[in-house]
């Protein structure tokens, strides 16, 4: 059964409090039991508490699948980019290196790439993905567009990301300020940016040291 069309994934990394609930819940997903597919990214751990929960964005044109020499990554009709097919994946690491969001994980001992498949065992039967069902701050949210618009009146979602000259459209949405005119998120704009906190509280602490 496909994932219901009206149920969408919305991520809002700025809300992440780094609690690791999503990481723990993810490893309980039946399709990759015991291994978490979520990267809870510490932006700059020594100086900031800022974290980014990174799940698969499920690109419309998945670079990971295109660069796979073994045709191991398939995108289902409902737009979910599945994890590597076990008989096919030859553990070359191309997908890990090509994904613009840095999502796939190489499980070297299994000779197998594994990635978030939006908890296909759950979402395909009408349940929320594990991570979204436990996230206490709403950084990972799974629901209808109407629901999130009602709950976050000052936000809107986008699903276009710019990486240099390449625009990537995704099934997963990211929350940005409403009416800010943000059509897409230019990821490289953050090339020289520093995490929240560096110019704030912690900097003054460092200055005193």
């Amino acid at each position: 059964m496909p994932v219901a069309a009206n149920m969408e994934f919305f991520i809002d990394p700025n809300r992440c409090i780094g609690c690791q609930s999503c990481v723990a819940a993810c490893s309980e997903c039946d399709t990759h039991r015991g291994t978490s597919m979520i990267h809870l990214q510490y932006v700059d751990r020594p100086i900031s508490v800022q974290t980014v929960p990174v799940i698969c964005m499920h690109c419309d044109s998945p670079t990971c699948a295109e660069v796979c020499p073994a045709d191991a990554i398939k995108r289902t009709g409902d737009g979910v980019v599945q994890t590597a097919r076990k008989p096919r994946c030859i553990a070359c690491n191309n997908c890990v290196l090509a994904c613009p969001f840095g999502v796939p994980k190489m499980q070297a001992e299994f000779s197998l790439m594994m990635k978030c498949d939006m908890c296909y065992d759950r979402t395909s039967v009408g349940l929320k993905p594990m991570c979204a069902s436990v996230c206490p701050s709403g950084a990972l949210y799974f629901g209808t567009r109407e629901q999130i618009e009602g709950e976050r009146p000052r936000s809107e979602s986008i699903n276009k990301f710019q990486f240099g000259a390449q625009t990537i459209t995704t099934k997963v949405n990211m929350m940005v300020p409403k009416d800010s005119g943000t059509q897409h998120l230019d990821v490289l704009s953050a090339m020289d940016d520093e995490p929240a906190g560096r110019s704030g509280v912690l900097d003054s602490v460092f200055d005193d040291m």
């Binding site: 990214q41 020499p69 940005v176 953050a190």
Partner: protein
């Protein structure tokens, strides 16, 4: 943008004077191809697809012709060819054509082509060949013969695969030479109790027909069916009980191969049961049923899950590529400066992405291509970029930056 990337490694000179650069130089635009590939490759230029297909058909015809010639030659002008098995032979010939065709089409995909070429280049690189040969034996034993990487996923998976794999290898090793007339048995002149085995028409060893060796050899397919049935049972059990498998499995891709292997094994065993204990009861029908299951499987082989038998050995080439590429130097992330991947692989990937129609070239200082940034920094920048958007709004007073309240 540099049109040609030439990577020189000590002992291996790797050039790009191939279809990649030629096509770009000729101005073939593949923008949008990546997206259209998912819609039945509509975006591909017909000429290219046509050429790929012609190459595929060419290889298919060549391999099929070689096999046909070997069948005629190996059976001494069909002298030892068993006409009752002609259906199997034609099914194998068709499967050979289709598998070669698909393999050729697969090898022509940009990422596969790069790995195929690079895999051979690095394997025969004089600097690494001795190490490669040693690793080849180690990997063939550990990965292919023992399926160690599958056992690591779970014991039942490993056991299921090993049983099915060895059962099938044994069955193929017995039936193909018999079907092709490459092996036949003749009684030893003057000794009706002994057989001589002829391979490609040449006599080899003789053995007594009532010996243990003869019993084991003539029941080879029985032993292989025991292995396959046990493996299929284990695999089927997992597919029926595992929730994760239940979510992803599909009939044609996952159940059909198991059903086919089971059908072949059972109908084959029934043949043995019929002539051993039932005076050949229903033998003709069973023989036909068995032939149907085998021929259907042979015809299915190029299209479904069984194609991994031919695809999977590419894992070996990839492992040598990764070894050598890592030994030749690592790429450093242009953002954090950490070594994150072999430089050769990053360079290759950039070429592959360009050929696929992706445009990850950037104008950011010091980062000519997004691929030069490590996956960890990509994740970091995703969060930072979102924070910047909120921060911009915050600085204009519309919203409070980094606040999660009421937004």
């Amino acid at each position: 943008m540099a049109g040609i990337t030439v990577v020189r490694m000590e002992g291996v000179t790797v050039g790009w004077a191939d279809g990649v650069t030629v096509e770009r130089a000729a101005g073939v635009t593949v923008a949008g191809r990546a997206a259209s590939r998912w819609k039945g490759r509509q975006g591909l230029a017909f000429g290219r697809v046509g050429r790929e297909r012609i190459v595929g058909v060419g290889w298919g015809v060549l391999f099929t012709a070689i096999l046909a010639a070997l069948i005629v030659g190996g059976s001494r002008n069909l002298q030892h060819f068993d006409a009752a098995l002609v259906g199997y032979t034609f099914a194998v010939l068709f499967a050979t054509f289709a598998i070669t065709y698909r393999y050729s089409m697969w090898l022509q995909r940009p990422p596969t082509r790069v790995y195929w070429r690079r895999g051979w280049q690095v394997f025969f690189s004089p600097k690494y060949i001795l190490r490669n040969i040693a690793n080849w034996f180690r990997r063939v034993t550990a990965d292919f013969a023992l399926n160690r990487f599958i056992f690591k996923r779970s014991t039942s998976r490993g056991l299921a695969h090993a049983l099915i794999m060895w059962g099938c290898i044994l069955a193929f090793a017995i039936t193909f030479p018999l079907v092709f007339g490459w092996i036949h048995f003749e009684t030893v002149p003057g000794d009706v109790e002994s057989y001589t085995t002829f391979v490609f028409g040449f006599p080899t060893q003789s053995f007594e027909i009532h010996s243990l060796v003869a019993f084991l050899v003539f029941h080879g397919l029985v032993w292989s069916s025991f292995l396959v049935i046990a493996g299929v049972m284990l695999a089927m059990r997992r597919r029926m009980r595992d929730h994760g498998a239940a979510a992803l499995q599909r009939f044609a891709e996952d159940f059909l191969p198991l059903i086919l292997l089971f059908a072949i094994s059972i109908t084959g065993l029934l043949l043995t049961a019929s002539y051993t204990w039932m005076q050949g009861y229903g033998y003709d029908f069973l023989a036909l049923l068995h032939a149907i299951t085998v021929i259907f499987t042979l015809l299915y082989m190029p299209f479904g899950k069984f194609f991994h038998i031919f695809q999977r050995p590419a894992q070996l080439g990839v492992s040598f590529y990764k070894d050598v590429a890592a030994a030749e130097g690592m790429a450093k992330c242009r953002r954090c400066g950490v070594e994150y991947a072999p430089l050769l692989q990053i360079n290759d990937l950039i070429e592959v992405e360009r050929e696929l129609g992706y445009r990850y070239e950037t104008s950011a200082p010091g980062v000519e291509h997004y691929q030069r940034i490590c996956p960890s920094c990509r994740r970091t920048m995703l969060g930072l970029a979102q924070g910047m958007v909120w921060g911009r709004i915050g600085s204009t007073g519309q919203h409070e930056a980094h606040s999660t309240v009421n937004r």
